[in-house]
Each structure stands twice: as C-alpha cells, then as structure tokens.
Symmetry: C2
Subunit: 123 residues, 2 copies
DNA sequence: CTGCGCTATATTCCATCATACATAACGAGA
DNA sequence: TCTCGTTATGTATGATGGAATATAGCGCAG
C-alpha cells in the first residue's frame, strides 16, 4: 500500500481519472500476485471491480497495461506489461515530486486542521 | 471554475479529504456571491450538499471557514472568513506548485493516453 | 405586521454503484 | 476425462449518496 503523504494525486484524461492511488496499487498487486483475483482479494475489492479497473486502464492508454490468460496451470493469470510498469513508476515519481514540492505548504496547512475529530463522513 | 491542469490534488486529514477542487471552488463561489445557495446554484449543486460541505469545512479546521447569517436584508447570507481565504489561497498555491513540479512528467504521461475514446454512455 | 429570501434541518425518493452470486469458457495437469 | 482456479460476463440485491421536497426560524424592508 502506498504510504501516507497527506495528499492524493490523480492524473486526469479529459476530466476522467487515468491514474490515481487506487489504480496504481491495483497494478502493483497484480504484478506481485500475477492474478487479478488475487490482487482484488488482497485489496478487499470485488473481482468484478478489479477487472473493470483493468479494462478501463487498457482502454485509456495507447498500449495495454495488463495482459491476461484464461485457463492453464493455475487457471490463468494476469501480467503487468513493461509499459504498465513504466506508467506506474512514472506516476509514483509524480507523487513524490508533488509531495516534495508542497511539503512545506502542507506542513503549514495541516497545522490548521483539528487534531482529533468526531467520525466524519468521507468526502 | 478552476482551470484544467490535467491533475487533481487533494489534501487529506487522516485519509479524509480536507481540501480539494470541489471545496475550493465552493469557497470561492461563496466569497463571490455572499450566499451558500447562490454558490450552489452556480455550481449546479443542491443547497443541501453545499451546506453539508460548508459544515464539514467548519468542523475540520481549527477556525471557521464560512460564517452565516439568518434573516435580514437579503434573507441572510454567508461570508468566507479571512482564515478561509487564507486556506483556499494556500491550497491554490499548492496546486500550482504541484502542477509545476510534475509538468514535465505529466506531459510525458499524457503522451501515452488515447487521444479519443469510444463514446461513453451519456447520463 | 406581513412578505421575502436565505439559512438550517428532517424526510422521502430515486439513481447510482458496488458487492454478491451465477455461469461459461478455458487449458494445464492429475 | 475430470478437476481446478482463473478470466470474463450477466444478473440481482443491497448500500450509499444525492436530489427533491417540506418545514421552520430569522430579520429587515415595505
């Protein structure tokens, strides 16, 4: 899981998220496990949703991010392409750079956040 | 409306968004119009939702971001506090810095995004 | 003192989305 | 040939969230 930075970054493709924390983690998990379903289980996500995210990824980019195989030794599996690895790596780098660029401001900002709060709805 | 940067930035408060594009725009609209309902209308958002966002803002920060008045000349109104203005200004600065820091990477990234996408279902 | 517009809040309705469940195709290996 | 785990997809149910609606309170203007 991505470490806590106090911020989230999302890359947009015509206002639609093309890459963000969730997709990046999913790609990493698929790379680790070699399977969409295993990655979904690890993230507490339904297989269907994970599959839909993979489908969306493969549609938004010029090259496939994940390739899949049906049947076979372990029933099949999924592989993150070299292209997918590059995309996720690039995104991680962007997260790091953005985080570094605003670190000072973020520190100032969080000083004005209530330290403890009643359970609040996520927005 | 905030200009298109190809990215979205959100400041988190214990994994819950404390500031993002939506809240920032809402604050600006309230400042411009002097009213929560007018700001909501301008954003095509229900009054209730806008009010809930204002409530969330005032709860998450150490000082109120928006103050309200009931009744009176124009039925009442809302004002963004100096503190609120500072928070939104700081956030805008963070957006700018983050955007600048990853501009080159973002340019490379978007080169791998499909220029045109299949017609998506309109809603 | 009545009307107006806005804040404030509860309630109800509805669309959306995610999860869960079901099913089929698939191919290596036992 | 039969099993197994996975991809792939459809369907249904449930939860979530937003919008619409309703109502009340407020205070200045007329």
């Amino acid at each position: 899981m991505g470490r806590y930075r106090g911020l989230t970054l999302r890359v947009l493709h015509k206002a639609a998220p093309a890459m963000g924390p969730g997709k990046a983690e999913l790609i990493d998990r698929i790379r680790q496990t070699g399977s969409i379903s295993a990655a979904a289980r690890a993230m507490g996500m339904s297989y269907r949703r994970a599959w839909q995210l993979v489908e969306a990824l493969n549609k938004t980019y010029t090259e496939p991010v994940v390739t899949t195989a049906i049947g076979g030794t372990r029933g099949g599996g999924a592989r993150v392409t070299a292209f997918g690895v590059r995309m996720v790596t690039l995104f991680r780098a962007m997260e790091d750079k953005a985080s570094a660029a605003i670190a000072a401001d973020l520190h100032r900002f969080t000083a004005y956040l209530r330290p403890s709060l009643k359970r609040q709805k996520r927005r």
